[in-house]
């Protein structure tokens, strides 16, 4: 049991040591890759300054607003489409096409119309996150047990109540998975909007550090590490939610049973 956490921690430390070794001995020159100690020192210096936290706030803000809009619109539109066969069949190809269009294609247009602003980032985030989430909502609601639906009908549950008390809980495993996928997309597009679109945030700070020349490379890697940590936080939050919120659901029971079987 102890080995199961000792080993990963050891690997991370070994990887950091390897990074330091390779850069200090000059296998990889300082013009290409900064040393680990310099990067971590830069990270520490930034963590005590306001600049890092400001950029984190900007990136998270567009992520959060975009996700809120995506989830709200996705739930309402997705449920409406899922309950009507004709509407579903009509809209499905359109959703597939929009999902296949890379969101960065519209980035230059968004920059022109909205400028390097929060609104531009939020628009891009929504464009990237909405379609995959919408598909999950539709699948979730459509895979609902017909008996549950009939029971709800027999009990006279309809409208908003059916939406809140029947549709959402039944579809929730799909919804949380959809949110996790959407959230990863949202973070990626936030960073892209900052690198290419010049909006405030982590992505812009990475590019500024790169442009500042070799001396600022440790800073660049410090911000790359920060973006990875943000990814961990954002994805990890939904991963935990999947387990905590869904503990009663069949799919999670099976996973737990499988895990128990694997351990014993």
């Amino acid at each position: 049991m102890r080995l199961s956490w000792l080993l990963p921690v050891g690997t991370v430390l070994a990887a950091l040591a390897f990074w330091q070794l390779v850069t200090v001995t000059g296998v990889v020159g300082p013009t290409q890759f900064p040393t680990m100690s310099d990067s971590l020192a830069a990270l520490w210096a930034e963590a005590t300054s306001a600049r890092l936290w400001n950029s984190v706030c900007w990136t998270l803000r567009s992520w959060a607003i975009g996700m809120a809009i995506t989830v709200a619109v996705g739930l309402i539109v997705g449920t409406a489409l899922a309950f009507n066969d004709f509407a579903y069949r009509s809209a499905a190809p359109v959703i597939e096409i929009f999902k296949a269009i890379p969101a960065i294609a519209v980035l230059p247009l968004a920059i022109l119309v909205l400028g390097s602003s929060l609104a531009m980032k939020v628009f891009l985030v929504c464009f990237a996150a909405l379609w995959p989430f919408l598909i999950q909502v539709i699948y979730g609601v459509r895979s609902m047990d017909p008996v549950v639906l009939d029971t709800a009908k027999a009990m006279g549950i309809r409208g908003v109540r059916r939406f809140l008390a029947v549709s959402i809980p039944s579809a929730s495993p799909y919804l949380v998975t959809g949110m996790r996928i959407a959230s990863a997309q949202a973070l990626i597009l936030s960073v892209v909007a900052e690198i290419v679109g010049g909006a405030e945030g982590i992505g812009r700070n990475i590019l500024i550090a790169q442009n500042a020349g070799t001396g600022a490379y440790p800073l660049m890697y410090a911000y790359i590490i920060v973006s990875g940590v943000l990814g961990l936080v954002v994805t990890g939050a939904f991963f935990l939610m999947e387990r905590k919120v869904m503990h009663w659901h069949e799919s999670q029971r099976n996973i737990r049973a499988a895990n128990r079987a694997a351990r014993s």
Binding site: S4, P8, V12, I104, P108, Q136, I188, S190, Y221, S227
Partner: protein, 280 residues
């Protein structure tokens, strides 16, 4: 790591409710239902922008005419070829590493536990953030773009390969052992096909990541490619030209997606069939 990657079940066809009609009429009706909305939306776009004087939203007719001019007559299609070449090399390199790496990690349990945090970190790290680092490492050129695409593409494929292989029924391995299939043959005839649906889901996720990285890498410090074309047009305030780039990129994204689905249907036809059997 189970459950952290793409959900296979959600990617394939949605559960369908039975419709009453049968025969050729039904097929025709189905085709009509799936086509009318895209056609209607295009018509609305055409009509609404037809008399548009807004600098940002030129008439669709002009966009289409300009697309023909720019990409065929003026020969800008070379940008598309440059982009697709980078994508192809990066995607191939990344997915091969992903499948092989995933298989190795599946075999070597200790290594898997050990490198788990590193792989997960690289998986959740927003790949475009690595672009400036790639510029520093490889300078400006094709190599940097291919490297960035490959680096982003590896992780979805690798994690899905691993998940798929770990999800194979243990009984099947006992059967393989009883049949004395041996390591390599078990891998080829049981493990790879067994994990194929989830590997495919990973490959599709990787393709989406690859397309994004292809464009992003062309938008910063590059001299060719669709991303460069679009951003250059935007910088020159050549809105119509920019729209043609957006249109071509959207077409390429959609076409690649459909090509993938086609290939998936050919390769995984047995899987779809067995699912249909199980469902009936």
């Amino acid at each position: 790591m189970t459950g952290t990657t793409t959900d296979v079940t959600s990617e394939v066809a949605a559960p369908r409710r039975r419709s009453g009609r049968t025969g050729p009429l039904r097929g025709l009706a189905r085709l009509a239902t799936s086509l009318w909305l895209p056609v209607a939306l295009l018509a609305v776009w055409w009509l609404v922008t037809d008399t548009s004087t807004s600098p940002f939203f030129p008439p669709l007719r002009d966009i289409l005419a300009e697309t023909w001019n720019q990409w065929v007559v003026f020969g800008e299609w070379t940008h598309a070829v440059a982009s697709l070449k980078n994508l192809l090399f990066g995607y191939l390199a990344g997915t091969v590493v992903g499948v092989v790496g995933g298989s190795l990690l599946w075999r070597l349990r200790q290594v898997r536990v050990a490198v788990n945090p590193l792989i997960y970190f690289l998986y959740v790290l927003p790949a475009p953030a690595l672009l400036p680092a790639m510029i520093a490492l490889f300078g400006i050129g094709q190599m940097r773009q291919i490297a960035l695409i490959a680096l982003g593409v590896i992780w979805p494929t690798l994690l899905n390969t691993l998940d798929g292989m770990r999800g194979i029924d243990v009984v099947k391995f006992d059967t393989a052992k009883a049949l004395r299939l041996g390591g390599w043959r078990t891998y080829r005839t049981l493990v790879l096909p067994g994990a194929a649906p989830q590997i495919t889901a990973g490959l599709r996720a990787s393709l989406a990541v690859g397309i994004v990285l292809m464009v992003v890498s062309e938008m910063v410090a590059a001299r060719s490619g669709i991303g460069y074309f679009i951003l250059q047009a935007q910088a020159e305030f050549a809105i119509l030209k920019m729209w043609t780039g957006i249109l071509v990129l959207a077409l390429i994204g959609t076409a690649l997606n459909y090509l993938f689905m086609l290939a998936e249907r050919v390769v995984l036809h047995w899987h779809v069939k067995s699912r249909a059997l199980a469902g009936s």
